[in-house]
């Protein structure tokens, strides 16, 4: 079943001098099995939006529907536990997600909470710590005695271990080393393609959006400014410049070459295809 978002608004500090309309009547739907990128400038409402998907924040007005659960203003969401099992969210700052004294307990917490036996939960922890690129020796460490990138990996492992159908990642590769970031994106793709998980990714990294996602939603001041396929989105860099988005390096290269009189196909979005265009125009 798709996620339906109907006229969702969220206002922080309503009726005070600090009032801030972070989301302004957003409507959209997200189908099962999509790999969607949510982008937009600082403060545009991305983190606010994703926190509604598992009812960490409730709408000021409007509603969301996920399966038969409705998340609505001023109404205690029912079936909260099953919602949190359905939708896993990794926060922008992973620290706020870690709380147990060992990493083992931290990762095992979610599955146990959803009725998995202790032994099985521990096995899941052992599996997922390795899935995120850390070895078993980490399990006995405290999550607070880890580096920034290690904390991010542990937070991701904790959510993966719950095996939710919808996975929401708020800037999951910030703080990961380049290999870690690539491995993580490949993992998300596998979860999407092989296990049909719905993946919602908040990111400022256009390389990841271009290379891994199918659809892009651009938020701007709490509204949806653009909603289209990734292919269409990256076809022209003009739109990206208009939206103050730093184009992926490949588009910068194409623009620089065109400025020098090279003919490069619009559709060429990989190094291989751009190199082929260059090859046609240079002497070998």
């Amino acid at each position: 079943m798709p996620i339906e978002v109907r006229k969702l608004s969220h206002i922080y500090n309503e009726d005070t001098t600090l009032q801030m309309a972070a989301l302004n009547e957003i409507s959209t739907s997200i189908q099962d099995g999509e790999m969607l990128a949510l982008i937009g400038e600082t403060g545009s409402g991305k983190s606010t939006f994703v926190q509604h998907l598992n009812a960490l924040l409730l709408p000021t007005s409007g509603e969301l529907q996920i399966d038969d659960r409705i998340i609505r203003a001023n109404e205690k969401a029912t079936q909260l536990k099953s919602l949190r099992k359905k939708v896993g969210l990794v926060f922008q700052f992973p620290e706020y997600q870690l709380f147990e004294e060992t990493i083992l307990k931290d990762i095992a917490f979610g599955p146990k909470n959803f009725g998995v036996s202790e032994e099985e939960a521990n096995q899941l922890a052992a599996k997922y710590i390795q899935v995120v690129g850390l070895d078993l020796s980490y399990l006995e460490k405290s999550p607070f005695e880890c580096s920034g990138g290690e904390k991010r990996r542990i937070a991701i492992a904790g959510i993966l271990a719950m095996d939710p159908d919808i996975l929401v990642f708020d800037e999951p590769t910030a703080g990961l080393d380049p290999k870690g970031a690539k491995d993580m994106m490949e993992l998300f793709r596998e979860l999407n393609q092989k296990y049909h998980k719905t993946i919602i990714l908040v990111s400022h990294d256009m390389e990841h959006v271009m290379n891994y996602c199918d659809r892009v939603i651009v938020l701007n001041k709490g509204k949806i400014l653009k909603d289209c396929s990734v292919k269409e989105f990256f076809k022209e860099s003009d739109l990206l410049y208009q939206l103050n988005i730093d184009p992926p390096s490949i588009l910068k290269l194409k623009d620089a070459l065109r400025a020098k009189g090279f003919q490069i196909d619009d559709d060429a979005l990989t190094l291989e295809s751009v190199a082929a265009c260059i090859k046609k125009e240079v002497r070998s």
Partner: protein, 272 residues
């Protein structure tokens, strides 16, 4: 002149495994130096050693020619500003304005000038509208902007950025980079930036590569970042331009190795 001089520095969190295993490097005065390295390689630990937040087991650290020790810890901290990986860890004030003011007070800035300085730096990071807001209740990128403004306002001689722009949108990154470069030129600011962004390393003056608590390579970006195999083995990336060079070579075009897009375009034009 070396603004920061680290020699044979060793540090351990638990007395069992050393997180920093005998590190030596220099950061030249007025340079833009980057530190890159895999997760857990010891980057943040080094940053904390440099400001005396952690105490080394052995070795020496000299800032501006002064040995870092208990006696001159506060003199040295006056010279260095650090922006942490998680900005929440450094907010003290209840509002954005208070938070910037707090750092200024600590640096004995003339109270009559304070308001002006706060306004100026908030404006430079596009946070003027948020001066009355609580710093911990902002978006991720807004928090990073405030943390950076607070440090820049103190006008330190050295700034350490620990992945301080990792959550900024590209426009924000550009704005902040311009501001940093401006201060770098104008005030001869020394910058030590810990980053996972290889393209940032490409643009820096000097790159230090860490692996498992050790410095494994250091030098100019065009020397260090050309070591493709090593970079990949160290869980790092190679610059985009070099990837393009590889692809062109694969398709039979002979072209010189380069790490910048401008350099690459120049080389391609030469072949036309």
């Amino acid at each position: 002149m070396a603004k920061i001089e680290v020699r044979d520095c060793v540090f351990s969190y638990d007395d069992k495994i050393d997180a920093v295993k005998g590190i030596s490097f220099d950061v030249q005065e007025g340079s833009y130096t980057t530190i890159i390295g895999h997760n857990g390689s010891g980057k943040s630990t080094i940053a904390k050693l440099l400001i005396g937040l952690l105490e080394k087991k052995s070795g020496s650290i000299r800032i501006d020619g002064m040995e870092l020790n208990e006696e001159n810890l506060y003199d040295i901290r006056d010279k260095i500003g650090i922006v942490f990986q998680n900005p929440d860890n450094q907010f003290i004030g209840a509002t954005v304005a208070d938070d910037i003011a707090f750092g200024l007070e600590n640096h004995q800035v003339d109270p009559s000038k304070m308001d002006e300085i706060i306004q100026e730096y908030a404006k430079r990071v596009s946070m003027s509208e948020f001066l009355a807001h609580e710093p911990t209740r902002l978006s991720g990128g807004q928090k990073q902007r405030v943390a950076i403004a607070g440090i820049l306002a103190m006008q330190p001689e050295i700034i350490i950025f620990d992945e301080a722009t990792s959550m900024l949108d590209p426009q924000g990154k550009k704005e902040i980079n311009e501001l940093i470069y401006e201060l770098h030129e104008k005030n001869h600011l020394t910058i030590l930036s810990i980053t996972h962004d290889i393209e940032e390393a490409v643009k820096s003056d000097y790159v230090i590569v860490l692996d498992d608590g050790k410095v494994i390579m250091a030098g100019k970006p065009e020397d260090v970042l050309m070591h493709q195999k090593e970079m990949i083995d160290l869980k790092l990336d190679i610059p985009f331009a070099l990837k393009a060079v590889n692809e062109l070579k694969k398709q039979g075009i002979q072209i010189k190795d380069t790490i910048t897009i401008e350099g690459l375009v120049e080389e391609i034009c030469r072949l036309k």
